[in-house]
């Protein structure tokens, strides 16, 4: 037991009601004073955390109800921003929500399944090769957004110098080069491909680490209990045994997928993307916040994004979280 020594409970029991409450407050205050050091250790982190995460989130939930252009003082407008969002913002309704939804539904589960599959497959291969393979698969995720646009912009370049175009021309599939990142028909596909390519990040490593720690005895026990193939093994032993890591990488995956939404702008080089084909909630926020300076409306959108992230994550907790009795 560090720092705190428990105060004997006998000190209480004197009064009831208000007195008890005051006692409790005094007790907590004493406790806090005694643990000065603990707060001191935590203070630098908490300070940064408070200023750059808590304050922005809180002020977003206030600014979302105002009209604000960053020059004049914000004016309270009630639910106006949300009304506009749902009734007048045609771009949002017609493109952004559909895109974000499509992208998330595709990249989220597919990316997650791919992460799990790769982590599992890597554990099956000889130990000597493992770290080499892990590195090869992890590398795209550290290439980062900038590197990504350097690579893929060249590969998907719209003229015949682009590698994909060159390949397709060479094989005779097409007669004229396709402007992949500029045409609305292809941009989304390219975005999904690029994001999946780079999705093997911390989540993937965490899954791999989780799988390594599953007790081998469990597998033996499972065999005796009649588990016949690898699929059953994964379903009945591996997944339940590594639920905490599954949850962690799901959370990382969701955050990553919604973060990666900006890739469309990087690939096409314009915000808004051509015909809004790759426009995501993120880009829409940037468009309103930093291009049109309608900060009130843009924060309302950010608030929606936060709520969205929270809801999806909660759903994951429901699905993967360990129950009380486990």
């Amino acid at each position: 037991m560090n720092g705190a020594t428990e105060i004997p409970a006998a000190k209480g029991k004197i009064g009831m009601g208000r007195r008890r409450l005051a006692n409790k407050a005094a007790f907590v205050w004493d406790d806090m004073k005694r643990n000065k050091l603990a707060y001191l250790f935590l203070a630098p982190f908490l300070l940064c955390f408070f200023i750059f995460i808590i304050v922005p989130v809180l002020s977003a939930s206030l600014l979302a109800f105002t009209r604000f252009n960053s020059i004049e003082a914000p004016v309270f407008v009630g639910l106006h921003n949300f009304k506009v969002m749902f009734t007048e913002d045609i771009v949002l309704m017609k493109y952004v929500i559909a895109n974000t939804f499509f992208f998330a539904v595709f990249v989220g589960p597919v990316g997650y399944a791919l992460q799990f599959l790769m982590a599992w497959l890597i554990l099956q291969i000889p130990k000597k090769l493992r770290s080499l393979y892990t590195m090869a698969i992890y590398v795209p995720s550290i290439a980062g957004g900038v590197m990504m646009s350097v690579i893929w912009v060249i590969a998907f370049s719209g003229d015949r110098y682009g590698y994909l175009n060159q390949f397709l021309l060479y094989c005779g599939f097409i007669d004229t080069p396709i402007a992949f990142t500029q045409s609305s028909g292809y941009l989304m596909g390219v975005m999904i491909f690029v994001t999946l390519w780079s999705s093997m990040g911390v989540g993937f490593l965490s899954l791999q680490a989780g799988m390594m720690t599953v007790d081998p005895q469990l597998y033996e026990a499972g065999k005796m209990d009649g588990i016949r193939n690898r699929i059953q093994e994964i379903w009945y032993i591996t997944i339940p045994a590594m639920k905490p890591q599954m949850l962690f990488s799901a959370v990382m995956g969701i955050v990553g997928a919604l973060k990666a939404g900006g890739i469309g702008v990087q690939l096409s080089g314009t915000n808004p993307t051509p015909n809004y084909a790759g426009q995501m909630l993120q880009n829409h926020i940037e468009d309103f916040g930093f291009i049109r300076y309608e900060l009130g409306y843009a924060t309302a959108l950010s608030l929606m994004l936060l709520v969205l992230m929270y809801i999806i994550n909660r759903a994951c907790f429901r699905l993967l979280g360990t129950k009380e009795d486990e």
Partner: protein
Amino acid sequence: MLLKKRLKKLYPLTVPDGLRLLFVTLYAIMSVIPIIYIFNTAFKPLSELFLYPPRFFVNNPSFHNFYDLFFALKLSVLPFSRYVFNSVVVTAITIIAAVVISTMGAYSLSRMRFPGKDWIFSVIIISLMFSPEAVKITRYLVVTKLGLMNSYSGHILPHLALPICIFLIKQFMDQIPRELSEAAKIDGASEWRIFATVVVPNVKPAIGTAAILTFQAVWGDTETSTYFMTDESMKTLPYFVQTMTGGLTTVVARQGASAAAGLLLFIPNLIIFVILQRCMINTLVNSGIK
């Protein structure tokens, strides 16, 4: 015969194992091809860059692109070295500061008891679920209000609050036996001393992981340069590369130089990961959320 036996011992593969190996290999190749491609493009001389049909591999590697990057681009507003300098300074300070405050915070959350502890930890878990990008606008306002525009603190401070670092270090620290620090306590060591000499050496892998994650978050980040810096001389390398590739979408001009710049951005990342890979896997063993 003997060789076959030895091979079998080294790689005890059966047929389905072989299939799996093939599958991972294909995926791994697909992951690295673009990276290999950038390596090649960065060293392509001008004549090969605009060759038609384009070639994947470089024939006569040259440093022309790097030369272009370092010297020819001097004609633009600022020398290339200024961006590199900014990036290095910002990244180095951020990593050190982030690692120190995350480790201290994790120590407090893992080893001490105090009112509000559980509450603080659950807020940190919830914040793991948000990407800070979602509140770009209000973060921008906070940075402006604090007067951090066009200063190195504007690059550094917003990156210090990385919930994932404190989370991972805390989870790792929870696995270190308490007896260790209790013994030190009985010997009369102060809390600071226990922290610095008993606990920190034992959580090195987690600290390494935090360092990698911070590095990755900061080194490639363009956001702070784009939104918090209006002065060109305060911007960082990734921002510079981004502006170079911005006009690249349909034309191939500056392709070589931007590949070279992209490579320069990527190499440190790769080196650090290769060195600290083991740390990372070790740490992530404890990465679960319960």
